[in-house]
Amino acid sequence: MNVIARDITKTFKDATVLDHVTVQIPAGRVTGLWGINGSGKTMLMRIICGLVRPTSGEVLFDRKVLGRDLAHPLSTGALIEGPALLANRTGFDNLRLIGMINGTATDRDIRRAIAQVGLDPNERKKFKKYSLGMKQRLGIAAAVFEKPDLVILDEPTNALDTSGVEMVKRVVAAERERGAAVLMACHDKSVLDAVADHVYCMEAGRVVREEDPR
């Protein structure tokens, strides 16, 4: 599945958060968004996920327009601004509950994803007892366990140690190998240089530069 965010502008009252941004997220490739805090990366991701409506512009999933042809994004897993999971459930239970909606992921898929991010699938600790790093890892697992066609990761290396950063690189590479379209935002350019096929550099809501690091 190929995703395009075309000519996206987003304004809130007097503030222009995104200004005519176009980003292409092809299948089987990792697309990076790089920029400092406040450059518009997260807002763009929220628009692609359908959580925010653009003031102008459109998001296309295989040429179908989100909000017109599609009521919600197609086959998308996302980690945006931290994992939104249930505090009083275990990691496995959280993913299982999310998986209930589409009904496509098996228990084995869930266990595999949890193990892939370096957590124990049999962990009985509730999510609220997880460390920040563990929460972030579970959030990444939640984004990939259903094998979606589009994976969106917003600052996935936050709160992760060196091994966690390497894990993120492995997961992203695996998703690319699987044929997913991956969109990853990171303020650490070295991480994007290691994994991304194409990087959009953002500043003050605009794409100021594009790079092909690989």
Binding site: C49, R53, A71, H72, I98
Partner: protein
């Protein structure tokens, strides 16, 4: 499976998930409801002694209705200040609070997973269904509490409201010896509580939950103060029941108003929600 069928299936599953999560987070509130209902009804029934009413003469319907007994409308008199009926107000605010938190918390958290897998309309309708079922569960618990007290008092299981029940909350009622049928009042009460909770949810999304709860609380207090068909809290109060109390409100009119309010809340909510932005912890319309 076609994409449309898959979307419909996802919407159904999102509803089931909502019901499961919504109820599992509310168990302590149901326990509190049971305790509150038992205390509130028992206090009201015990108070009937003061008015010379025999406990055993109060029917099952009386016990249930006394949960929302309320008070007479306020009439200004020198030195007499308005005091809202605490039991009535607390009981309804408990229901309002129970239905307030989950939809908004879900929207800002776990529910975003559902919003990316099913449409916004199905998410909102799922929340509406959850609210309806929560209100039904609340009243089912109150009914159970009323039943327990009826059994313990050896009172008759009748659907007639008697003069005795009205006498404990108002001196204005005039009920025929055979009592009056309780079903219209209960139906109006149920309908209006569902409608007000749906309206509260819609307002919570448009403005914010604390404002929505405050508006509902204000409406209830003003309704307790003044008897008027436009003040919707009157339909939730035994002491304002038309047919027993002069100038009282008609429960059937209340049911009609509730239906319109519920529909407006759902339609208005859908209209607003489909267009709004879901930005972390705030909504920008």
């Amino acid at each position: 499976m076609s994409k449309r069928a898959a979307t419909r299936r996802a919407a159904r599953r999102a509803l089931l998930l909502d019901l499961r999560l919504g109820f599992s987070t509310s168990t302590r509130w149901y326990a509190l409801t049971a305790l509150f209902a038992l205390c509130s009804i028992e206090l009201a029934v015990a108070g009937s002694d003061f008015f010379g009413i025999e406990r055993a003469s109060l029917t099952w319907a009386d016990h249930l209705a006394l949960f929302v007994g309320g008070c007479e409308p306020y009439v200004f008199r020198q030195g007499l200040i308005f005091v809202p009926p605490a039991g009535w107000l607390l009981g309804l605010l408990l229901l309002a609070y129970m239905t307030l938190g989950y939809p908004y918390r879900d929207l800002m958290g776990f529910g975003q997973h559902a919003l990316m897998r099913a449409s916004r309309a199905s998410w909102l309708l799922s929340k509406c269904a959850w609210i309806v079922l929560t209100v039904l569960a609340f009243w089912a618990i109150v009914v159970a509490a009323a039943t327990v007290i009826t059994v313990l008092d050896g009172a008759p299981f009748s659907l007639r409201l008697t003069q005795g029940a009205f006498a404990t909350v108002t001196g204005l009622a005039n009920v025929p010896p055979g009592g009056i049928g309780a079903l219209p009042f209960f139906a109006g009460m149920l309908g209006m509580s569902v409608a007000l909770c749906l309206a509260q949810m819609t307002l919570a999304f448009i403005v914010r939950p604390s404002v929505a709860f405050g508006c509902l609380a204000a409406l209830l207090v003003v309704s307790a103060h003044t008897m008027h068909p436009a003040l919707l809290g009157n339909y939730l109060m035994l002491a304002r029941l038309g047919g027993a109390v002069p100038g009282g409100v008609s429960p059937l009119v209340g049911l009609g108003v509730a239906a319109v309010l519920a529909l407006a809340s759902v339609v208005g909510g859908l209209f607003f929600f489909r267009r709004t932005d879901l930005v972390a912890k705030e909504l920008f319309a």
